[in-house]
Amino acid sequence: MKYVIAIIQPHKLDAVMKELEDKEIHLKTVSNVLGCGRQKGRTEVYRGVKEAGNLIKKVKLEIGVNEKFLEQTIAAIVKGAKTGNIGDGKIFVMDLDEVVRIRTEERGGVAIG
């Protein structure tokens, strides 16, 4: 099993969610994060004091998937999030040892979906 972490533009969340639904990937966890990447934030000014503003709002998706769903998960995220501009984001994939569905205490591949 794999654990996919994707950092995307906030306004692309709806599109990515839709793509994932289309590919039958229903379960995911979403959170707010701040990205520091190539894309530069706007400088802010408060009473003349400038702030670099190098942290930009991003959305993070976390999805546990079985191996065979991995590629289509990645494809769905890319399809939903890609604009070709700097700031589109990244996808990180890690090995997932074990999954437990708390409700049923099932484990492994069957618990993931």
Partner: protein
């Protein structure tokens, strides 16, 4: 480039004031501005009336900011809250200066052709402390002036609900100054100015149904159509980012509206009391009405529905407040809840324009309901200086009200359209796509409302 032009023009506006001052300072004896008469035998000024209009003026000021600013600010997304709020705040400042320099003169100054005031009262020359009986016999003329200023400030602020989350700030500044001068000031003169043609015709508009709400509301519609929809509208709706702010704003609007409507009696008298009661009653009824409609159609009474209903009720009672009984106010509250609910929930969806915070749906539609309803429910029993409406045997009044409504809509639509066309070609109405995505706060004002890590 253009921004610098705007800055310069605003600075120019204030320098104009400087010159007026210089002029006045050189020859102070000839044009006493705001002079307190040394010893008046029996002052025509009533302190109770003056006290009430002073505080009413403060209340109407408070409606624009923080009232409207919070109401609108809560409805937009996090990234646009400051830009939305500061529009109201900025207009308060801008129109305060415009009004003192020339706005008041255009709106209430000596009549020119029943259409507009002359510039004779520019820089408030001749607007002193002696009451002007054409407007208010028991309070200083200057007090009437600043009371009216607050109406002139909130009116363009209402429009900002239509173009929220995508307007260029510089264009907004230029538009607002021109609109206030070319649309608000003339319409205000027609209806309330001594010699204005609608006033002469007997149109009833107690506190600004046409002048304030219809004029801003229909402009809002035109603006929404011309600036286009927000990116993602209507597929990815943007729910209000902070409903607490919106409810706080709605309650402050309700509170301030007592100054707006009961203050329009221009004294602490029976008429003020009557208008106060009508105002509260219509607001309450419409709030209940909207929540009932919500409950019926969506299965739950919503908080935003309650707030929207209250505001719609307040809008609709505005022209009628000094002319109707409490029962009339209840009827108006019920009607406006039904009509505005339909406008906001059904009609907007059908036509697909993006009147983002329903400036047209609430103020344009609600103002029209109110202006017409005044022609139905007005009664001389409440205000002998007013007139009877249809239900009190005077169908004629309804016709006059309709003329007032149509004239206001027609004029506001045409002038706003021309203004917007010109601004669209020159400055551009809208921020670019990236700026819209980043949000107006950071792109137009270099600020964000809330820190993320601190």
């Amino acid at each position: 480039m253009k921004k610098i032009l705007v800055v310069l023009s605003v600075l120019g506006l204030m320098l104009g004031a400087g010159m007026l001052f210089a002029e006045e300072a050189i020859a102070p004896a000839t044009t006493p501005v705001c002079a307190v008469p040394a010893a008046v035998p029996v002052s025509p000024i009533n302190t109770g009336d003056t006290a009430w209009i002073l505080i009413s003026t403060a209340l109407v000021m408070m409606m624009t900011a923080p009232g409207l600013a919070m109401f609108y600010g809560g409805l937009v997304r996090r990234k646009n809250v400051l830009s939305t709020m500061v529009q109201s705040f900025f207009l308060l400042a801008l129109i305060s200066v415009q009004w003192v320099l020339f706005g008041y003169s255009l709106a209430f100054g000596p009549d020119i052709g029943h259409f507009i005031g002359s510039l004779k009262w520019m820089g408030l020359q001749g607007v002193g402390m002696a009451p002007n009986p054409d407007y208010a016999a028991t309070i200083p003329h200057s007090l009437f002036m600043i009371y009216q200023m607050m109406f002139a400030a909130i009116t363009p602020a209402l429009i900002t609900g239509a173009f929220a989350e995508r307007i260029k700030f510089s264009t907004f500044v230029v538009f607002s100054l021109l609109w206030a001068t070319l649309v608000y000031d003339p319409i205000c003169h027609w209806v309330w100015g001594s010699g204005g043609w609608l006033r002469n015709m007997g149109a009833l508009d107690f506190a600004g149904g046409t002048v304030v709400h219809i004029s801003s509301g229909v402009t809002a519609l035109i603006f929404a159509l011309m600036i286009g929809k927000r990116k993602g509208y209507p597929d990815n709706p943007a729910p209000p980012h902070n409903m607490v702010f919106t409810l706080l704003g709605a309650a402050l609007l309700w509170f301030g509206w007592f100054g707006f409507n009961a203050g329009s009696a221009l004294g602490a008298n029976e008429l003020a009391v009557s208008a106060f009661i009508a105002t509260n009653t219509a607001a309450a009824t419409a709030a209940l009405g909207w929540m009932c409609l919500d409950w019926f159609f969506n299965g739950s009474p919503t908080v935003l529905g309650g707030a929207s209903g209250a505001v719609a009720g307040l809008v609709a009672i505005t022209p009628a407040a000094g002319f109707v009984t409490p029962m009339g106010a209840i009827m108006i509250g019920i009607i406006v809840a039904l009509v505005c609910y339909t406008a906001v929930v059904v009609i907007k969806e059908k036509f697909g324009y993006d009147d983002s915070l329903d400036a047209f749906g609430v103020h344009g539609v609600g103002g029209t309901v109110g202006a017409l309803a005044t022609g139905l429910f007005a009664t001389k029993l409440v205000n002998a200086a007013g007139n009877n409406g249809l239900f009190y045997g005077n169908a004629h009044q309804l016709g006059i009200q309709a003329i007032g409504v149509l004239a206001t809509i027609g004029y506001a639509v045409v002038v706003s359209f021309v203004l917007l066309k010109i601004l669209d070609k020159t400055m551009g109405l809208r921020v670019n796509e990236e700026e819209e995505l980043m949000g107006l706060d950071v792109t137009q004002h270099k600020e964000t409302a809330y820190t993320l890590i601190d």
